[in-house]
Amino acid sequence: MEKNIIIKVCMGTGGVASGGEEVLAKFREMITESNLNAKISSNCHAQKVGCRGFCSKDVLVDVIVDDVKTTYKHIKPDMVERIFNEHVINGVPVNEWLAGPEYNNFHDKQTKVVLSHCGDIDPEDIDSYIAVGGYNAAKKAVLEMAPEEIVNIIKNSNLRGRGGAGFPTGLKWELGLRIKSDVKYVICNGDEGDPGAFMDRSVMEGDPHSVIEGMIICAKATQSNSGYIYVRAEYPLAVKRLQMAIEQCLMKNFLGNNIFGSDFSFDLKIFQGAGAFVCGEATALMRSIEGKRGMPSPKLWRSAERGLWDKPTVLNNVETFANVPKIILNGANWYRKLGTERSGGTKVFSLSGKVRNTGLVEVPLGISLREIIYDIGGGIEGGKNFKAVQTGGPSGGCIPAELLDTEVDYESLARAGSIMGSGGMVVLDENTCMVNTAKFFLEFTQAESCGKCTPCRIGTKRMLEILERITSGKGKDGDIELLEELGNHIRATSLCGLGMTAANPVLSTLKYFRDEYIAHIKEKRCPAAVCRDLITFTIIEELCKGCGSCKRVCPADAIRGTRKSPHRIDKELCIKCGSCFDACKFKAILKV
């Protein structure tokens, strides 16, 4: 019997960063050198696959022998030889390097629709996508379905915009179809910019054809012949793979004139962003494609009426498009049932922060936050206490422990004072200062403000200054009220979504963690011991062994003491860098 062996090496951005290319090359070298295929009469090949969402374990390698998959974690090139000899040739897995139950738990609790092919197929090979049923949906839509029919399926599926606002996709397409124009555009918003979010990048890198296929279906449904994929500047690999995918589509006539032999034509082009978070906002994104400053414009029209170059434009996010082929193939009902009554399907989150398993997770809408964080994420790192989870990036908010059972859908998260957003989910533990967290997000938004409207340009800056004052121990009575007033005004008066939501991280932390603000202002104390100006380091004499590690690392020469006797920190000299705290092996340094 000939054995069929496939070796899959993760080559998402995370995989590549951890040395995936070298690992893959090593495997390929071993296969050739050992003349394996002849020797053990097997059909063995190694291939790259996209991100499977568990980047903290990269490089991840699957060895699949006759459909039996074994996954290894943290693989380095020098480990390849052993895996190859023991597992590939002799059929005995290297047990100590296996990804183990954690890896399986992480994946088993998920429902993969958008990510179903990520980490499984070779993203640079269209045939690999076609082999798993790719482009059947587009072919069906283009050749067999009327635009109205497609629109109805999408409407019935309850698919809502995955970019954050959750506008029903079917309605958007319906409007796009209804408006008559000689030229219409379909745009894929791949300007994923929320800190802590990388869902769209993984899809564009790991399964670029699914996005293109979704766009083809949308083009047919809205009778549009031109499209753009706007990819942010920081995603070169996504650009490369999408570009390859487009070229392959052109060769197969899935894009271009008379696609699939029909009378329908669709041209698609990639537009690479140049580094501006605000371009994730639809009007700003379109101005950017038009070669202008990415400044949002007041919304006189819906994009579906007047968008890019004043032409009707349907704009959806990467994940939204990636869902479409599956909906067409499996039907609206199947998709709707995956989610809740008001929101169909699944949502991909990028789980990060102080959670044990960080990475991409795809879950059915309606799942609770607790399930995501504890069942999939494996709970809090280092056995610490959960404090809050931040969803929705800089436009979102922090949800406290008492609301952990909140269902994940657009409305419930909004009620909890946050938003669904594009899918960032940052877990914060007891060692996280909420004022500092709010400050971090505001720093981000403030730096990314386009500068056009007064409240966002100046207001966020003033707000940030107040937070800086509070975290550095100079907070004043009334600062909390001032923050609230500022926040509410900025929300009410800003020109675009970025400005309107800029204050959310502050307002939501003020709502749930007001006492932390008060502690900073009134007691000049940071409860989580994070804000540098408000903490002190003290050596606990009983625990200090006098090893001198702290003294050696102290950049300010603030630590005194002789060997083998307890040391002391001179508070006048201490610059509160925390080096001693990190260096002490005996946990003898107290940070309060």
Partner: protein, 674 residues
Amino acid sequence: MEKKVKLQIDGKEVIAPEGMNLLDAGHLVDVFIPNLCYLKGMRGFGACRLCLVEVEGLKSPVIACNTKVREGMVVHTQTEKVRNIRRFILDLILSIHPLDCMTCTKAGICKLQEYAYEYELKNTSFIKKKMGYPIDQINPFIRRDPEYCILCGRCVRVCKEQGTNVLDFIGRGINAEIGTAYNKSLRESGCTFCGSCVDACPVNALPEADRWRKGREWEYTKIPSVCLFCGNGCDILISVKDGGIQKINTGEKPGSTKKYICAYGRFGYDYIEDRTRITTPLKRENDTLKETTWKEALSIIAAKLKEAGNETGFISTAGITNEDALALKRFAKNVVKTKNFDTTLSLYSDIHSMKDSQSALITNSDLIILIGLNPSQWSRVLPALDASIRKRVNRGGKLLVITSADIKIEEAATLTLKGDEITILKAIVKSLIDKGLKADIQLENAVKDAVVTEDIEKAAKLVEEAQNPVIFTSPSLFDSSANLTIIKGKVIAVGFESNSRGVALIGLTTEGKSYSDMVNKGMKVLYVIGEVPLNARPSHTDFLIVQTSHFTELAEQADIVLPSTTQYETEGTIIDYLGRLKKLNRAIDPIGTSKTHRDIFVAISKIMKSPLKKPSENEINKLIKVKPKLSFNPFIRRDGFEIAPREFIESINASVLRGRRLAWLKEAVAAIAV
């Protein structure tokens, strides 16, 4: 008829045309919604957020500048909610804006000051920050101080819309600023110093460079008038205090940027008190010019004119008022009894082109056709025409340029056709006739053999699709261009002097020797009025009289020099290039003993015992009310009008350009060009 909708703003009923925004609709019933970034006529920008108002039925406030009126709308502009919002926004702006209203140049007309007062903000409630931007003040025209800038973007939009393209938004976020490419000074950024941004700026970020301590806005008497420096004859608004001109703006309401004036028109006025200004009559004595009295000067002239009779020649600039022109004509014909009078108009145009030019508005035209003309803000040849055309194009109008030269305005053109203008015009007409548009038989015959190319086809399509095409043509191509109007549109020949059309209509056009003849061959007595492009005393001229405001090279060679008033010291009317009658008003008293041209002629006529009456308003109106007659004319180019426009305009304004600031400009331009 445009559709009207009925709505309510602050309890007042408003009937507004469909498509109008709430801000403009408010104005109709004297409801003024605060705003800093709105510019009437341009799309709402939505940056300042001050114009937020509440509309019944809508959850959150909307910006009035960008919300269109709807039937039955009920709008509230002064609710507590929006007043609080405005207060908050002003508070934010004040946190990065200097609070030096007591010494600030713009006090009294600063919109921020006005709103801070209205919303009771003495100071910001935030910590005040300085951005620390450098001031650009190396030019004598505009002082750019970004510290005052509130980023309303009005200057940017004005500068861009008129096609000058010097200012733009730079950077982003709190560090966003208004600046130039590579943050260079205005001088190094291709700025023409037209000062449109000065008019647009609602605060003190872009005042005139010399404006500080030249008086408060409310101390000024504002006198509307017209600039006579070039063929555009722009409306200006002169601010006068203590008998002196303090500044000049466009002839629009303060803060409006609808009209354009160039650096000459806005800043050139400082030449009036230049040391070359002539304040008393001069007469030649032993080879030098010496001061004399009006009485003596005029009696010498009267004697000379009487003696020379029809051997006297009058040459004048066409940049004089209708009143002066008519007085001059009558003086020459009836008093001196000579038919030899002519103006510089004859150097670049025939009379028929000027007389039969039509009236039109650029703002109403959807297609502008520019034939054989090279208007340019940068060389200040018909700069307002250039700016107006670019504005129109930026608001959706189309521009067809037909030219045999490479010209800058091509960059704004929808289509440029290069080559012999007449060949192109014929081909366009042919193409239009082929498309089935109606022409007359003579025209059809004249273009029978024209060759229609693809580009001509495109041009013809533009004309075909246009509702109100307006043709601006060089006078030498007037007849050929006017033939197009048999099919469609209006035609205007553009002269280079402010009253080119008026002079032609009044009839200050020769019945005897032409300007060139008189200059080339000389006259027994040659009487020169205003500044003409003539530096050497024509030979065979026994006696030369120069009547002008400033000492020129020619004046130095004169036998008698009479001081005349400048455009700010006289009143009268002109006909501008678009055919509009415009009124000059006297803003300041004449300097020294200078007199208006017509007063001088009347005075001489009295001495000559043939008293001249000053022309009345009625007489002028009758003369200029001529209906243009247009019919088919052969496609020809008139010869003899080949002047270099820039050099011509500079020479008739030589003394203006010697003024302190414009002299700097000339040097700066030369330095950059090198």
